[in-house]
Symmetry: C2
């Protein structure tokens, strides 16, 4: 393979990423996802060169339980965006993905038409041991796509563990998809997720389910109104969509775009992103320390003693830190 | 003051605390709240002797925005409990309390009748610099009261910052008080709090507000039903109370008691408390490390650079940890 001409010090993938070349994008994201330490060092060189070029996309989080119709929606939504000439990236956070099997999310067969669309770039979730590790790689993949000039970057998640919280921490607008049938799987929305939402979309608002979708939309609207909004005066919107009929998609995009632009105009977007970066930084600090402390051979026993009520958490924590510091 | 007879190695306050002597309780809690290092060492000796005697009370968290009628409720509720021969402790988490002025919460003039009740023990919130520090002292004060044989320990909070989350982390049952008037202060419930609740109580269900209270109860009931419950099959209950008429108080206690006993019977209580202890332990570890890392002269600048998008959070965090480890 011919090496592209590079300026001295410039990573060899930089020109290709900036030009939006799909192969360069794939290689850059693969590099970022790699756990090998020599790859990590190289990835950080590339990322530090991409960082000044990032920040220009609308960052959307899309979450929904299995059965809420997420891939159907994202495909229709993505086609709507590319139809308007926008470049759309789709990333995924799925902590259950395994390297060999790949993730259910981001599987190109799920969103076949979109995956063949030259204006769209779909990437399966990275495999990873910890949710934090998967989240970090996804944030970095988003950086790559932004530097390539993507207009919209979607991060989707199916809602395992705390993945919605991780997604909310890296996007401008958090969209929650809900099926019309009385709560997903009749279980109800996972606690903590409803309050993350800026926009709620009731899917499958067609045919037999059209009335149920209307009622569900009213119920969610009432529930959101009981809660203090994330941004003063801006209660989360509840809309209905039908990917099958093609209704509600344009309105959903209009709502997301208006929301993000409103945040930008008020200065809230800059504040949000700065806060997200700050929190990401401290969570990285704490994850690094927790890892090292947990490697302490006695940490597991201490934790078990604390859980059994045999020792005071505060005293045990201090003893562990003292050992850690002087190790 | 005559020193009580003590067994060798036993802290001098231990017999008084075990006997429920009010002066010993007050002195023990003051010792636990002290920030002086010699007091802290002594407190940990006492606490380690009290730890095996703890765990026997029903731990209730009671939260409500200003105006929800919290002190009125706690006084009526506390009197109901002492009227049944139960010993009731009331602690508070108020991170805004200052040592000189004292806290608004736990102010004995707010709950005058209860403060004069020999079956009740009310303690204002400890002053503290960080919410974590205040929360720790409150957990330890709870230990003291449990070792003294209190049947019920209430931890109240007015909901500043993340204090509800801290309270939820140290109790068996989290009770949320709501006024009937369309959401507290017309602002709506703080996000994240509704989902913590095991029991919601709509207060002031009397006179002009009786109908509004009924409607509010229905709205909250509907909202809670949209969410997946904390414990499978156990949706949070919504009840109405009127301290003025004296209605709903006995029912509220019955609901709390039944809830906690149900958790105990299913083994969920033991699991909950073990998890709470485990999480407290790790949060102590992380707080200790975060304090030490933050003392790094460059940490503030690094954080600012991260927030401004000038440097990657992951790389910055790793550099900071390396300096911390080899300091």
């Amino acid at each position: 393979m011919t090496r592209p001409k590079v300026k001295s010090g410039e990573h060899e993938l930089l020109p290709g990423v900036k030009a939006g070349d799909r192969r360069a994008l794939a290689r850059a994201i693969t590099l970022v996802e790699s756990t090998k330490s020599e790859d990590r060092a190289e990835a950080e060189v590339l990322l530090s060169q991409l960082l000044p070029l990032s920040g220009g996309s609308v960052r959307l989080g899309i979450s929904g339980a299995p059965g809420a119709g997420k891939s159907t929606f994202i495909e229709a939504f993505g086609k709507h965006l590319t139809g308007q000439g926008l470049k759309v990236g789709v990333l995924a956070i799925d902590p259950t993905s395994r390297r060999s099997g790949g993730s259910i999310l981001g599987d190109k067969t799920r969103m076949e038409a979109l995956s063949r669309d030259p204006g769209a770039f779909i990437r399966p979730s990275p495999a990873g041991i910890t949710l934090g590790g998967v989240a970090r790689r996804t944030r970095e993949a988003m950086l790559v796509l932004e530097a390539a000039g993507f207009d919209v970057v979607i991060v989707e998640t199916v809602g395992v563990g705390q993945s919605e919280t991780e997604v909310a921490e890296m996007v401008d607008v958090f969209v929650l998809l809900l099926s019309p049938g009385g709560g997903d799987d009749l279980q109800g929305i996972k606690r903590g997720v409803m309050e993350l939402a800026d926009i709620l979309l009731v899917t499958k608002a067609d045919g037999d389910l059209e009335q149920a979708a209307g009622r569900a939309a009213s119920d969610y609207h009432a529930a959101m109104h009981l809660m203090r909004p994330k941004y003063p005066g801006l209660t989360a919107q509840v809309l209905k969509v039908s990917a099958m009929k093609g209704t509600g998609i344009a309105e959903a995009w209009a709502a997301m775009r208006a929301f993000q632009e409103g945040l930008k105009a008020s200065g809230s977007l800059a504040r949000l992103r700065a806060e997200q970066a700050r929190r990401w930084f401290w969570s990285e600090v704490q994850a690094a320390v927790a890892d090292e402390v947990a490697e302490d051979g006695q940490a597991a026993q201490v934790e078990a003693d604390v859980a059994a009520g045999k020792v005071l958490p505060h005293a045990a924590a201090r003893a562990l830190i003292r050992r850690f510091r002087h190790a």
